[in-house]
């Protein structure tokens, strides 16, 4: 045997990312279309993205309900017909919304591209939001809401956003039972008219893109133009709650959900890439300090993680876990201890190398295949950035050192500013 079983095989540097920018074409009416050619199967992922997320709604549930109602009937098709035809042609449709954006993503077999595009125009630009379907949807959503309220992780998340972004801002506003009564057909029609317009839209296509795609898109989406000019609501300032600590008990709960975090910078800030590395060290991967401490040394939880996320008007960092009630105090103390260690003690070279290599591998996964490529592009395009963000991120991962980690930890992890929520 010419190798030893206790010695790791040679480690080679991880392949450099080869990133190409999507090809931008404008339809006849100016709608931007980003094409990402990738993969060997005859399929495309086609996303219609609109700036139509919760940030645009003046009452809760409006953005999400409008998005869900798109497939509930159009000028030429009933809801049942739409869903039947989409299924018949093997298409998958995911309506999607978040705090800033709303979109509809279609997964399409290329041989059915034309048919699905015709239907997607119906879904996006000719929905009629039938009253009957709306009432049924609201009743169902109310039932789901009642179930989700019982889940400690959901409640703790909601309370964190309320605490960090304020009761009145769309990022922090809570949904109440009454909100389900306030959604009317007219409010949906208005929201659709204002935000699902050609001047508020972009198309992202990835996969093995047929040559005819742009001319088909022009036929269905490029010949008319709807425009909406809506002033954003003046009440858009983010003010966090004064009381940063909130501890609520739920009767009969076996575990308690813990959320600790605060608002922070987003992707547009040059420090963001370094913060990604810091976040990974703290709780962003399986070998992170929080996982090692709270799960692998103490056995307090099935999982603990931290993340940093961007929003259009802000960003946030958040640590999440669920533990038995008797371990809540100790877990919270340990979370603060791990943060303060990152501010005081230089991270050892070995640990930093592990996290760097893990993150470089993760970047390969983020660009592997047509679906991942589209997701990654969209995640920067939404912030007015391009793939240069990822080049900067890769460069930062390679070059960041222990001093910069300490600086970032001190600058962005002020323990006194963190919101601390427990529920359960």
């Amino acid at each position: 045997m010419n190798y030893k079983k206790n010695i790791q095989p040679n480690i080679f540097p991880i392949n450099k990312l080869s990133l190409t920018e999507p090809v931008l074409t404008n339809l006849n009416n100016g709608v931007p279309v980003y094409q990402i050619e990738s993969g060997s199967e005859d399929i495309v992922r086609l996303e219609f993205a609109f700036r139509a997320g919760q940030i645009k709604e003046n009452i809760p549930l409006l953005a999400s309900t409008t998005n869900s109602m798109l497939t509930e009937g159009s000028a030429n098709y009933t809801s049942e017909e739409l869903n039947h035809i989409l299924d018949f042609y093997g298409a998958f449709v995911n309506p999607y919304y978040d705090k800033d954006h709303a979109s509809v993503v279609f997964f399409i077999l290329n041989k059915h591209l034309e048919k699905i595009l015709e239907l997607s125009r119906e879904i996006l630009f000719a929905p009629i939001f039938p009253e009957n379907e709306l009432n049924a949807l609201m009743k169902n959503r109310f039932q789901w809401y009642m179930v989700n309220r019982e889940k400690v992780n959901n409640r703790a998340n909601d309370l964190f956003f309320e605490s960090a972004f304020g009761k009145n801002h769309p990022y922090g506003r809570q949904v109440t039972e009454d909100d389900f009564k306030n959604i009317t057909q007219n409010s949906i029609i208005d929201f659709h008219k204002n935000y699902y317009s050609h001047n508020n839209m972009a198309v992202i296509i990835s996969g093995k893109i047929p040559g005819i795609t742009i001319s088909l898109l022009n036929r269905f989406f490029g010949e008319t133009f709807t425009e909406s000019r809506v002033e954003d609501h003046p009440d858009n300032t983010i003010t966090d709650q004064d009381n940063q600590k909130l501890h609520i008990k739920k009767k009969g709960s076996i575990q308690t959900a813990i959320r600790i975090g605060s608002t922070t910078i987003n992707k547009r800030n040059p420090d963001y890439t370094g913060l990604k590395v810091l976040d990974s060290l703290l709780g962003g991967y399986f070998g992170s300090r929080l996982m090692k401490n709270i799960r692998e040394e103490k056995g307090y939880t099935y999982g603990i993680n931290s993340c940093i996320s961007s929003l259009d008007l802000s960003g946030y960092k958040l640590i999440s876990t669920e533990v038995s009630r008797k371990n809540v105090r100790h877990t919270i103390e340990e979370i603060y201890r791990e943060i303060s260690n990152l501010q005081k003690i230089p991270v050892e070279k070995g640990e930093l190398t592990v996290v760097k290599n893990y993150m470089l591998g993760e970047m390969l996964r983020m660009f592997d295949g047509p679906f991942a490529l589209a997701d990654s592009f969209k995640a920067v395009w939404e912030y007015g950035l391009d793939n240069n963000y990822y080049r900067r991120l890769a460069e930062k991962i390679r070059t960041i050192d222990q001093d910069e980690i300490i600086l970032l930890a001190k600058k962005y992890y002020n323990i006194d500013e963190l919101h601390e929520i427990t529920y359960g």
Partner: protein
Amino acid sequence: MVKFERCSLNNGLRIIVHEDRSTPLVAMNILYNVGSRDEDPEMTGLAHLFEHLMFGGSKNIPDFDTPLLMVGGENNAFTNNDITNYYLTIPSVNIETGFWLESDRMFELDFSQKNLDIQRKVVSEEFNQRYLNQPYGDAMLILRALAYNVHPYRWPAIGRDVNHILKVNLRNIKDFFFSHYSPDNAILSLTGNISADKAFRLSEKWFGPIEKRNVKKRILPAEPKQMHERKLIVEKDVPSSALYKAWHIGPRESPDFHTFDLITDLLAGGDSGRLYNTLVREKKLFSEINAYITSDIDPGLVILSGKLMNNVNIKEAEKEVDNVITGLLEKQGILKEMEKVKNKYEASAVFSNTNILNKAMTLAYCELLGDAELINREIESYKAVTHEMVVDSVSNSLIHSNCSTLYYNSKRKDV
């Protein structure tokens, strides 16, 4: 079409390789032919607890995760009733580290008391988080125990009692390892940026020296045929009542497996399924409803679950479910729907095959079922299902005497 090459080592390890040069990564999947059906009824959850211990270090490598992270890799695993499946993705230049890590933990684990103590706690927190502290989280525990009397499918992979996990000792762990973790009881699949030659050579180098162990032939108690309808009512503090039903069907290899797969797609595939259209959209009895097959290797179940709208009588709702099911016997309009679900099945396979990890898992699982080539052939069996076969399967199996029903009632007054 997924093309692949296969070989076996002298110690019985089977290897399947699918080369796909469009990715810089390799996915490596090891399936061990052991699941919760192989557990002692008084020590359920052991297979899954064991999966956790596989990350706690092996004979020559004290820490599994760090060396993998060092080369940009990522990994995870799952345990179900039939199998324990470990998988990783890794930049192709560093694939040898994957062989090194996986072969050493197949060779022998580092049976550490400390690791066992910690993972017992972690798994009991997992039990709490996923099953006990969620509304309806224990429904499947209850339904399985109702549907099966003797077969080990009567408990889920997490186990039937959290106390079983807490009493596992190191002796149990060692016995479990040496009786199930063996090259001839495993299937290794690799997909992505690697040639078959290289994969076979590295397999021989790292897994070749591991000797096969004495894996006993699996003998499990067969579930007797259910003769009478079973019903159970529980009352819980949940926001609305829910209905669960389970019918026995044949094993994974039985000829009507694909018929039931298609039947559940007719009932609940996508937003155009019959249950959703009739009972959610039209009659507004349920807020959500679903039906699926468990896809178990031994005789499995068709499971239906639905959450009721408030003020709906659960017995009335159940009758309507029955009507939807017997509606499948009528030929009127169903052929077009069958064509629809067949198209959708075909499309799902194409979408799923864009991902190397999915392909690796499917290849290994198909090989366990008898032939990795099933990855390409299952679609034909599904497409071959006729309405006559649907009628036969519905009238023989989706009937009251073969059914276990759970009323998961809300004890809240206003419901």
